[in-house]
């Protein structure tokens, strides 16, 4: 990160059409880079973009707005931002705000380096100053898990033109005009009331105020979800047909309804469905894959309910069902 790299000087030099690049229904035109560099994420050709979320992210890129994406786990929030950046050739760096991240990691610290055979201390920039001076999109994942004392470090750069002061270095850093900031979270910063997201903190409202755009990415309509599963696990069609994927997504939606109704305590996220499909391909059996992917995660007392869901979708009696298998 210390090397003088050529990306510090580059800027977006072309404009692209959202419709062409992302397959969404919009006339939006967004600035982009013509050349890739090492920090641009790899493109996943099969990725399916969600209309509203993509527009929000593009607004963030085009107009330097701070965008926060909130949603249930496994819905693809961070991936969404990455894939947009990938297609815009925009360098993108993800930072996970876990409990061990502190101010020094973000701002920078003194380290010992070898120069001319001698040991000297030199200030190594943390990820914030580094990203701030380059045309990078910085993504904070698990934003609501960040500790309150750490979050204040970020406060300043949340403003669009916010300069960063490095006290250790007596330096003022102006953000690169193409620096962008995004975050993803499970809760909306008011604490978790669903009981699913242990370890999330409440976010200081003053900080929440500085995020310009907040968008939700939750479960997609079933048809879209089916497409995504098939795109991610193309081998599935070798063992079963598309109708089975539809049933898998239907079953996932039953668990989501059941969770909302308070009947079960675990849900199948879109990621779970994809894992189920992958496991089914390697095991060759839908039922066995289901047990290994999801059923074994569930509370024992709830497995019979999930077995009922399974019976309706696949017309098969799981051994966890209350009704015994017919001989």
């Amino acid at each position: 990160m210390n090397k003088k790299d050529n990306i510090s000087t580059s800027s977006p030099d072309i404009t692209v059409s959202a419709k062409q690049l992302f397959g969404i229904d919009s006339g939006f035109k967004c600035p982009a880079f013509s050349k890739k560099n090492e920090y641009v994420p790899k493109i996943d050709d099969a990725y399916k973009f969600d209309q509203d979320t993509t527009i929000a992210i593009l607004n963030g890129f085009a107009f330097n707005k701070r965008v926060m994406i909130q949603g249930y786990h496994g819905t693809g929030k961070s991936t969404h931002i990455e894939q947009v950046a990938a297609r815009l050739n925009w360098p993108c760096v993800r930072v996970n705000l876990d409990s061990q991240i502190n101010r020094m990691d973000l701002i920078g610290r003194d380290t010992i380096v070898l120069e001319n055979g001698k040991q000297t201390t030199s200030f190594q920039e943390g990820v914030l100053p580094w990203a701030l001076q380059r045309p990078t999109a910085l993504v904070f994942d698990e934003y609501d898990a960040g500790r309150p004392d750490v979050m204040f470090v970020i406060q300043r750069i949340l403003e669009s033109e916010g300069k960063l002061t490095l006290l250790d270095q007596n330096k003022f850093i102006e953000p690169h005009p193409s620096f962008r900031l995004f975050s993803t979270t499970n809760t909306i910063g008011l604490g978790d009331t669903s009981g699913l997201y242990h370890g999330t903190q409440q976010i200081n409202q003053g900080q929440m105020d500085r995020w310009n755009i907040i968008t939700c990415l939750n479960y997609l309509p079933p048809e879209k979800e089916v497409e995504i599963v098939l795109a991610k696990v193309p081998k599935f069609l070798r063992i079963k047909n598309k109708k089975i994927v539809k049933l898998m997504v239907t079953l996932a939606n039953l668990t989501r309804n059941g969770f909302s109704a308070g009947d079960i305590s675990t849900v199948m996220s879109p990621r779970t469905v994809i894992m189920w499909a992958e496991n089914a391909v390697s095991l060759g059996n839908i039922q066995a894959a289901f047990r290994l992917t999801f059923l074994n995660r569930c509370d024992e007392t709830e497995r019979s309910i999930i077995a009922e869901y399974y019976q309706r979708c696949f017309d098969e009696e799981l051994k966890e069902s209350i009704l015994p298998k017919k001989s």
Binding site: R109, R147, D192, G258, G262, Y310, C313, D315, E316
Partner: protein, 605 residues
């Protein structure tokens, strides 16, 4: 089917099926299960009632697929049938209306079968059972009515379905009598399966055409007579009219999610592993070397005539599982309005508690975890020893709260309902913030002294017998059990005949003992009561203030000698005399607000 399997089904079928129905319909209805009396097609067509047959009352269970089929049919009805539109479009004459409904039922069932393959098996089982019970399949079968025939014909045309042979024979017989144009109409139904309006128009046309055809004409009058007979036999079916102009009937209770509550759950990952319920027996076996516990039993020469008949029960032992569910539903219905207010208060409590749970690191220490960022300093100069970090002790201590609720007769009605729901919501909130919660109740087993008094009488009524009634201490929720396993238990508080007399001192001792055996740093006991301790039998045979004195002394001992923080809320009764930390409220509606404020205060200090 083995005995065990049958027992398993009887116990779990209703719960599991209700959950499934909620998922299928995406609505939080409460479904009721009852005896399978009806095999009446009227009841099968588009009934608005949320009542379903239950295996509970079956003497021998061979196969319950048909029960599933009945449930599925109801679910599809809720999801895809627009009753207002149906009433608008249906034919005037009752016979035709019946046939019309039967066709609509076929449409709705077919949508279900297309979406959920498992429904096919269940629905066929239900149809088959229905036909059998109405003697329509056997050799000496009765003449089948047109509505049933049309139902089967339409169903067969809409989805690929492998009916049993006899049913196919039945359908074929009647299909053979259709004219070509009528057959075409039926075939055209398939493309309109999702559009109730167009589908209904086609059916109406079909019905008029069938009326004219001589093979079917007399079938219409048959329905009429059969309908009259069925109505006479089964007055219950009269309640289920297809006329929705009367508005939603009482049985269709729409239970909307109250502020996202039903989905909440204490799913702390470390509780995910098997949790043993710490019943009283386990507590007894633990090494109780706390002198406090021993002393509690000897306060002020308080006597108990005999503890032989006392009981400590868990709420789910008080009544059957099904009754618990009913009571829980009753509880939720009674305070629907209040729930919103209480939830808001609870969220406020949660935010306050979470804000207190600050966690941060302390740097530059001489011991602790190696701070990798300072490691460079150490290399630069090995005598730099303050390169360690430690997690700062958050002020928020490991806490357990015990809610002890007076279950005496004076709490009957609104007070106990409100107390139950406050306990429910606040304890769920506290659990989300990492505070463990116990919910306990106390009353007596009988009104006039029960077996204890009988023994006293048999022993020739010795002087000053001490407490003279059989106690009942109830555990609604134990501290280590997660919410999702006991959410119905609070309904038990509403049980008829549960609330009797109250012996407060001993109840508090019991609750304290449970708390003292726990390992948390902070232990809080919150008592909610609406009156002084009263037990007629005891007060009649001892000095009149025996119970009150015992209560006072218990409280003062606990407040001065034990680590338990004691706090009381009196409903319409001044408790500030007894307890050091107490609040009296005059109106039980204020209970939620008071409990929240007290809890916030407890955690603020």
């Amino acid at each position: 089917m083995s005995n065990n399997q049958e027992k398993n089904i009887k116990k779990n079928f209703n719960i599991v099926t209700a959950a499934l129905l909620r998922s299928l319909t995406k609505k939080n209805h409460h479904f009721e299960f009852e005896k399978i009396a009806d095999h009446n097609f009227n009841n099968l067509t588009l009934s608005k009632s949320l009542k379903l047959p239950s295996p509970d009352k079956m003497t021998k269970i061979r196969n319950v697929d048909f029960l599933r089929g009945r449930a599925d049919s109801l679910a599809m009805n809720i999801c895809h049938h627009d009753d207002i539109l149906h009433t608008k479009l249906k034919p005037q004459s009752p016979q035709e209306a019946k046939i019309f409904s039967a066709a609509e039922k076929a449409r709705v069932d077919s949508i279900g079968i297309t979406e959920f393959p498992g429904l096919k098996r269940n629905l066929i089982a239900a149809i088959r059972k229905f036909l059998l019970k109405n003697s329509l399949l056997t050799k000496k079968r009765k003449e089948i009515t047109l509505d049933i025939v049309l139902y089967l014909m339409v169903l067969k045309n809409l989805v690929e379905i492998n009916f049993p042979e006899k049913i196919i024979a039945l359908i074929n017989k009647w299909e053979g009598k259709l004219s070509l144009s009528e057959k075409d109409e039926i075939l055209s139904l398939k493309e309109h399966i999702l559009d109730q309006e167009i589908f209904s128009q086609i059916i109406k046309k079909l019905i008029s055409s069938l009326k004219l055809s001589k093979d079917y004409a007399n079938k219409f009058s048959e329905i009429k007579t059969k309908a009259i007979n069925q109505d006479r036999e089964d007055p219950g079916s009269k309640k289920q009219t297809l006329d929705s102009s009367a508005g939603k009937t009482m049985s269709l209770k729409e239970k909307t999610e109250a502020m996202g509550l039903p989905g909440e759950d204490n799913s702390k990952k470390d509780l995910g592993n098997k949790i043993k319920e710490f019943g009283y027996l386990n507590l007894k076996e633990r090494n109780t070397n706390q002198s406090g516990i021993a002393h509690l039993d000897k306060i002020n020469n308080y006597k108990v005539y005999t503890k032989k008949f006392d009981e400590i029960v868990s709420a789910d032992q008080l009544t059957s599982q099904n009754d618990l569910i009913e009571l829980r539903k009753k509880l939720d219905n009674q305070i629907a309005e209040l729930k919103k207010i209480i939830t808001r208060l609870a969220n406020k409590l949660q935010r306050r508690l979470l804000a207190k749970q600050e966690r941060s690191w302390e740097y530059g220490l001489e011991f602790g975890y190696l701070d990798t960022q300072k490691f460079a300093q150490f290399i630069a100069n090995p005598s730099n020893s303050n390169i360690y970090k430690k997690e700062k002790e958050s002020d928020f201590k490991d806490t357990v709260v015990s809610l002890l609720i007076d279950n005496s007769g004076s709490m009957r009605g609104r007070p106990i309902t409100i107390a139950a729901i406050c306990a429910d919501i606040l304890s769920r909130t506290l659990e989300r913030c990492g505070v463990k919660v116990e919910i306990l109740g106390f009353t007596t087993k009988n009104w006039k002294g029960g077996k204890c008094r009988e023994k006293w009488v048999a022993d020739d009524k010795p002087e000053s017998p001490g407490r003279l009634n059989d106690l009942r201490h109830i555990i609604y929720k134990s501290a280590d059990v997660p919410w999702r396993r006991i959410s119905n238990n609070l309904g038990a508080m509403l049980q008829e005949g549960l609330l009797k007399e109250n012996v407060d001192g001993e109840a508090i001792i019991w609750a304290c003992k449970r708390l003292l055996l726990r390992s948390e740093n902070r232990r809080i006991l919150m008592v909610i009561s609406d009156g002084a301790p009263v037990d007629d039998s005891t007060l009649a045979s001892n000095s009149t203030n025996i119970l009150e004195n015992h209560l006072k002394e218990t409280i003062s001992w606990i407040e001065s000698n034990s680590p338990i923080e004691l706090l009381a809320i009196g409903i319409g009764h001044d408790v500030t005399n007894y307890y050091e930390k107490a609040v009296t409220i005059n109106d039980v509606e204020k209970l939620a607000k008071t409990m929240t404020e007290e809890l916030i205060e407890l955690f603020d200090s």
